[in-house]
Amino acid sequence: MAEAILDTSREARAGSSRPAAVIRARGLSKTFGGGRIVALKEADFEVRRGEFISLVGPSGCGKSTLLRIVAGLLDHSGGTLELHGSPVTGPRNDVAMMFQKPTLLPWRTAVENVLLPAEIAGKVGPAERKRALDLLGMTGLREFAFSFPSQLSGGMQQRVALARLLQTGADLLMLDEPFGALDEFTREHLNVELARITQEVGATVLFVTHNIGEAIFLADRVFVMTPRPGQIAKIIDVPLPRPRDPSIQVTPEFNALVAQVRSTLGGH
C-alpha cells in the first residue's frame, strides 16, 4: 500500500534495519527584523523515514516557523537543512503542507480540490482521477466526491484537505494544527484517522499543535518547544504501541509523558 500511494523509493530500503534520516537539521535558525527577533534558535534534529513527530509548545515558540522552513515557504537565516539528502531552497514536490484552515477552493468539488496538486504538476489523467477518488475513499468521503466545500462540515473539509495533501505524492507531510479549529469530538476522531492513514501510506510527518495530549497521542517523538527565543527545549520519546486507541490517554504511561512535557514547558 505504501508503495502505491507514496514514492518512497528515493532511498534504498533494503539492507538497513534502521530507517535513514529523511530530514536533517543542523543549527537551523530564523531571525526577523535584521537579527533582532529570534524566531527559531539553532535547532538540531533528525527525522527518520515513517516517523511521526509532534511539535508542541505555546504560541511564539517557533513551531510554525520551523514547519514553514521545512516546507520551503520560509528561508532560514542560519544552519543547514536537508531533505532526502538535498538542501531546501524553496517549495519542492517531496514536501506537502496542510493548514489549520482547509484552504479548499470553494468553486471546486471535493474531488476537483483533491486533483489540484496533479493539475499544478501538469498531469491529470485517468490514473490521477482514480487516485483522487481512492484517497477520498480512504478519508471516508467517497460519496461526497462531487460536493462543494460549502456543502461539507468543517471536519469533512479537513478530510478533503488531507486527501489533497496525499494526492501530492509527497512523503514528508507538514501539518500545521490541521484540526485546531474543529470541536473536540471531531478532532479526536480525525486524529485516530490521521494516525491510521499516515501509517498506511508510510509518510513522515511533522505535526504542529499546542495540545499536549494530542501531541503525545499521535507521535513517535515529541519536540517540546519554548518561546523567547523559539527553540527545541527537549525531545521526548513516546514508546506507546500502535495502533493506539483514544483510551490510552487515561493510562499511567500516557500521563507520565504528559507530566514530562508539562515540566519542560513549565520551566520557561
Binding site: 516546507a71 520551503g72 515557504l73 517549495p91 519542492r92 514536490n93 514536501v95 506537502a96 503542507m97 493548514f99 484552515k101 484552504t103 477552493l105 470553494p106 468553486w107 468539488t109 474531488v111 489540484l116 496538486p117 493539475e119 499544478i120 504538476a121 485517468p126 482521477r129 482514480k130 477518488l133 466526491a145 462531487f146 460536493s147 462543494f148 460549502s150 456543502q151 501530492t168
Partner: protein, 287 residues
C-alpha cells in the same frame, strides 16, 4: 412580528396565490382611479395621459406605426456594445494593474481624479468628437461602464486569501497558475458585482447621451414626443425602458448565479449534481 414569520412557510402556497390577487386588484384600482380622475378633470390629460390612451399608444408605436422598434434596437445595441467594450477594458486594465504594486501606485492618482469626474459631463465633448450618431453613444456608455468593473476587479485581485496563496505556493504553483486557478476565480464575485453595477448604469448613460444630441434612439424619441406634447407616446417609451431595465437586471442576476454559483446554495447543489453525472459519463468505470 415573529409569529407572522413562523406561520409563513405553512401557508406559503395559499397566501402567495391570495397576495397575487390582492396585487392585481390594487393595481386595477389605481388604474381606474387614474382614468376616472382624468375624466373628472382632476388630472390634466395633456401632461398625465390616461391609462387607456397609453394602451392605445402601445398599439400604435409597436403595431400600426411600428416606429419604436428601430429606436429601441439602436439604444439596446449602444448599451450592449458600450457595456461590453467598457467593462472588458476595465477588467483587462485591472488585471494588468493588479499584477504589480508599482503600476498600481503610479496609476492611483489618475483613477481617483477620473472617478471624481461625473462621466456624463464629458458627454458633449464626446459627441463633438464622434458626431451625433451611435458611435458617440457607445463611447459614452463605455465610459459609464468602465469604472465599476475596473475598481471591483482590482479589489478582488488584492483581497486573495493569504492561506490559500500559501497553499498554492507550497504545491509549487507558478505565478500564472496562481492567477488562473486562485486569483481570477476568487475575484469573480466582485467582478460580477462590478458588471452588475455597470449594466445598471449603462441604459441611463445611453439615454442621457441621446438626450444631449442624437439622430436616433429611445432618448431622441422621448424628446420628440414630449416636444410636441404627445405624452401618451412618451409614456409608452418610458414604460418600454422600464421593461428593458427589468430584463437587464434579471439577465445579469441569472448570469451571476451561473458564474458565481458557489455563493448560492441552490445553484451549488445543482452544479454538484451535474458534475457527478458528467464525471460518471466520462469515466464510467471509475464512478
Amino acid at each position: 412580528m415573529t409569529d407572522v414569520v413562523d406561520l409563513a412557510p405553512v401557508q406559503a402556497g395559499a397566501s402567495r396565490e391570495r397576495s397575487w390577487l390582492n396585487h392585481a386588484a390594487i393595481f386595477l384600482g389605481l388604474m381606474l382611479l387614474w382614468e376616472g380622475s382624468s375624466h373628472l378633470g382632476w388630472l390634466d390629460p395633456l401632461f398625465f395621459p390616461r391609462p387607456s390612451d397609453i394602451l392605445v399608444g402601445f398599439w400604435r408605436l409597436y403595431i400600426t406605426q411600428g416606429n419604436i422598434w428601430g429606436h429601441l434596437g439602436l439604444t439596446m445595441a449602444e448599451v450592449l456594445a458600450g457595456f461590453a467594450a467598457g467593462s472588458l477594458l476595465g477588467i483587462a486594465l485591472a488585471l494588468v494593474v493588479g499584477m504589480s504594486d508599482r503600476i498600481r501606485r503610479y496609476m492611483k492618482p489618475y483613477v481617483v481624479v477620473l472617478e471624481a469626474t461625473p462621466r456624463i459631463a464629458i458627454g458633449p465633448v464626446i459627441i463633438a468628437a464622434f458626431g451625433f450618431g451611435w458611435t458617440s453613444k457607445v463611447v459614452i456608455v463605455m465610459l459609464v461602464c468602465f469604472f465599476a468593473p475596473f475598481v471591483n476587479t482590482l479589489n478582488g485581485m488584492v483581497n486573495a486569501d493569504r492561506d490559500q496563496l500559501e497553499m498554492m505556493r507550497s504545491m509549487g504553483a507558478s505565478k500564472w497558475q496562481v492567477f488562473c486557478k486562485l486569483m481570477l476565480p476568487d475575484a469573480m464575485p466582485e467582478i460580477m458585482g462590478g458588471l452588475r453595477l455597470a449594466m445598471a448604469s449603462a441604459l441611463g448613460g445611453a439615454l442621457v447621451a441621446e438626450f444631449i444630441a442624437s439622430n436616433a434612439g429611445m432618448g431622441l424619441l422621448i424628446n420628440q414626443y414630449t416636444g410636441v406634447l404627445n405624452m401618451a407616446s412618451a409614456f409608452v417609451c418610458v414604460l418600454t425602458l422600464t421593461g428593458l431595465g427589468f430584463a437587464i437586471m434579471w439577465a445579469m442576476e441569472a448570469v451571476d448565479r451561473r458564474i458565481v454559483f458557489w455563493n448560492d446554495r441552490e445553484s451549488t447543489a445543482e452544479v454538484s449534481k451535474r458534475l457527478a453525472l458528467a464525471w460518471a459519463h466520462r469515466n464510467g468505470d471509475l464512478a
